[in-house]
């Protein structure tokens, strides 16, 4: 089986597992969500048998057919992009997620790009200047990397955020100033979005960059010991080229571990969004959890999984581009 097919199979199965888990959990775990929804419905009045059925229909739980039939129906719906109905927002889950996704993707792409490229460049430099004063970045980076994302978010809000108590430099609530500007392609809205993204992006960058610095530095130190790097120096190539010889090889394991890195960044960002009430899928996942809106929770989980799988696919492509050995296996 070729390497490409194998990777695709993995992603396909991962998506399938995620979908199936989110299908099965509410159905097999005792205390199913329908009971909760019925209880809520009963609060505002009596929920008779008909009302129960209505609730079930709305949630997509047709408990009167077999599990298999439900599964087939669920998959069929998914294939049409139908993720069910959110009772708390009273809208189709897929529409809701589509409106949350740009926030999350925007933040994720911008901050991961900065942190990956910045961290990698710093890591290369640190390895090259090994033993210089710059070595002191190591313990600092270790500490930063050990800070939970959301804790760093809280600290940044306290110090820089307008909802904090100290400098009050940057907005630290919501994705834009919901009281002042109208969403749309207008300048005030755009600047508002940008300024609101500063602190969340800074949090994600600061928390994740240390990891990229450290792993690139270690790989680079290891690679610089390879003979081909020494040969590059012996060949009288300019320092720039020698570093590039080593860096391109050191990058390989870093890129191949992007899978884990991106999972952790996504996980961290979910919590960061919550701290900032940033209107992406992470914040809404939290919101849906607290409102017991299970169809929304499931939908978001499936979409997050797909986003991560997409990022993995990109990392795979990058890997193949820089490693000829992988290119041939592909």
């Amino acid at each position: 089986m070729s390497a490409v097919l194998r990777r695709l199979l993995v992603y396909f199965l991962a998506a399938w597992v995620a979908i199936t888990v989110s299908f099965l959990l509410p159905r097999v775990v005792p205390g199913n969500p329908v009971a909760g929804a019925v209880a809520r419905a009963s609060q505002s009045g009596n929920c008779n048998a008909q009302c129960v059925i209505a609730v079930e229909e709305q949630l997509g739980f047709n408990v009167h057919t077999s599990l298999w039939d439900q599964y087939v129906q669920y998959m069929g719906n998914l294939a049409h992009g139908n993720l069910g109905q959110s009772w708390s927002e009273n809208a189709p889950v897929s529409n809701l997620i589509l409106s949350y996704l740009p926030w999350t993707l925007g933040l994720l792409v911008v901050s991961t790009t900065i942190s990956f490229f910045g961290g990698t460049a710093l890591g290369i430099w640190m390895a090259w200047r090994r033993g210089s004063w710059f070595e002191w970045v190591l313990p600092a980076a270790t500490f930063f990397q050990a800070l939970p994302y959301f804790f760093l978010a809280l600290v940044l809000v306290l110090i820089f955020g307008q909802t904090g108590t100290m400098l009050k430099w940057f907005p630290s609530l919501f994705g834009y100033d919901i009281y002042v500007v109208d969403p749309g392609p207008n300048w005030p809205y755009i600047t508002s979005v940008l300024s609101h993204a500063i602190l969340p992006a800074a949090t994600v960058v600061l928390s994740s960059i240390a990891g990229f610095i450290l792993s690139m530095r270690n790989q680079m130190v290891t690679t610089m010991d390879e003979d081909f790097v020494l040969v590059a120096a012996a060949k009288g190539l300019p320092t720039r080229t020698v570093i590039w010889y080593a860096a391109r090889n050191a990058l390989l394991p870093v890129v191949s571990n992007f899978t884990i890195a991106i999972s952790l960044v996504v996980a961290g960002q979910i919590l960061v969004e919550i701290v900032f009430n940033y209107p992406g899928i992470g914040f809404h996942l939290f919101d849906a959890l607290s409102k017991l809106d299970y169809s929304l929770v499931q939908g978001i989980f499936v979409v997050i999984t797909l986003v991560v799988l997409g990022a993995n696919l990109l990392a795979d492509v990058a890997y193949v581009l820089i490693d000829p050995r992988a290119r041939q296996a592909a």
Partner: protein
Amino acid sequence: MTIDSTALTQAPLAGPTPKSMLPKVGLRLPRSPKVIAGLALLAPFAVVAVIGRWISPYSPNATDPQHWVQHVLVPGTGPGTGITANYYPLPLPPSAEHWLGTTVFAQDVLSQVLTSTQATLFVGLIAAVIATVLSILFGVTAGYFGGNADEVLSLISNVFLAIPGLPLLIVLADYVPSAGSSILLVAFIIAVTAWAYSSRVLRAQTLSLRNRDFVEAARVTGEGRFRIILAEILPNLVPIVAASFLFTTLYAIYAYVAISFLGLGGSPTSSPPGLWNWGEMLREGFANNAIRGGWWWWWAPPGLCVALLGTGLALVNFGIDEFINPRLRVAGLTRKAAKKAGITSHATLGMTPVVGNRPAVPSLAARSQNVGDAVLEIHGLSVDYGYGDDAVHAVVDCDLVLRRGRVLGLAGESGSGKSTLALAAIRLLRSPAVITGGQVLFHSKPIGGDGPRGTIDMLASDKEELRSVRWSEISVVLQSSMNALNPVITIGAQFDDLLRVHRPKLSRSARVERSGELLDMVGINADRLRSYPHELSGGMRQRAMIAIALALEPQVMILDEPTTALDVVTQREILEELIGLRDRLGFAALFITHDLSLLVELADEIAVMYAGRLMERAPAASLFNAPRLPYTHGLIHCFPPMHGKRERMQGIPGSPPDLNDLPKGCAFHPRCAWAMEQCRHDVPQLAPVNGSAREVACWLHRGDAKVPAELARPDPGVAEVHA
């Protein structure tokens, strides 16, 4: 948090894991400052995890009404909400009664932090244990059995790896209603989302161990699979399992804190009640406006605790990393030592530092001996690895002269310092190598191109000056030239970058043409320019390296065992090509090998090294047929001749000495059959024998010692002269 462990991020380590390190592995954590700092950070948490609830000054739930001073409006109550105003006490900043202040519920923060430590650490450790067991089961089984079992198990772990852990955790924790109250269940759910990564690493490592000799041996002797895994594979995985255990602990603690922050970890006030943990403290603070209120003392301590604990675990993990991957250790030259030595410890790649006072040795030219034909002169060269008391003196006071167009052979057992000597001369040794004395003069008369002319003092040159002679005048074929080619670019590109830098006037097509020519010269088809190194056989890679070394028509080539790791036939071919090329192109070569019988056909002159010193130097035929040094004699007789009748091999008893603990006197004396009393005390110096052109460092040839017959054969070189 991101992965930072090279031990974990690396594919199976290439380096051999000698079996001898097995028994000690578990205990021998390097006592590096990092590990010590890490353990120091972890220790208080471990203690508090056990005794925390007893040393807490208050109960974590107890409110302290005495210190309520002011009130805070509960959000969502009071004027404008239609709900009657409801008040919290104002949290108190740190004070004598409450060292870390109080929460908005007038609870003691310090007590909460202390009590929380236990559950947080417990979940981390239990989850790590479960995940480690899972990953060993999956990883080792997949790696060891291979085939379909591997396909299936790897597929499962890769699928788990691709699914983002925390979101899965959130969904699982959310649906399992009693998860919050049972930390065992929480730990189990975390483990389920965390095992896949370690499993992948362990699989790769098992796979590479599986084919090692000692495992093969066990298999051949018919040991059961289960026994092999337990006795041979697992002990070797200990460092990696340890690294991944720590990593998983860290991950589990983060995950637990995160889901508690989301309110899924079970709150102490819910029913059934969950346990106090740091994530729960952060959640309460966040949910009760501790940020807006500026009540940092409430939420900062638990967050800092997570960070400190994480730093501690990461530092210990660094230690394990350095244990697994020695390249990460700062070998020998620490910043302090480097400073003391007056050199910078960084950026020494291709710029081996030179320290100490190097007496200006008059060059051969100045001494007007054999002036014209010396191209590389080495005088009194000494090289240490490391600096200060634990420096290894790898090369001591060596003199060599390479003459234009000649081949100088350098022989000696493994570890005698041949490569060190040769690479020090062109300053290619890497840290922690330091040149501690001597002089290296390169007398340049470019063959082709327009390189620098005149004498260059290699040890006094700066980077630019070195760069001007590198490769264009002096090129190297490294000992392990199998790895000397950059694996990610084509062979052609590796010719091209060289020509582009050193022959800027050549056009692109001219460069390609020249590269093709060069490959052709070493017997490789020019089409191979488009190949990547991994597509070439070992022999082809060595040839390609030789072709690259020839590309700029250098005056000197340093060939460090250019044909090791090849079969005898290929060795022969390559060597014959080399001789032919030398005759045609007229470069001088410093040829390093431990095979004297090979050198005698190739070299004009041979020098023999032992324990970092030159011990004998003579014209090739003289040295080979009539050695004067007991060590040389042993060397000659430990290799079967390449052709001709096979003599019985005698070899040299014992093994090369430990450079850290050299015998006094002649370093060879413990192994020397003719050692005398004097040899145990005094170091013999290299000196001419009987006024001939050859030099020996051996007491047998000094004074009136009786020279044994083996070492007094008639010298063919001398005989020739007499004839």
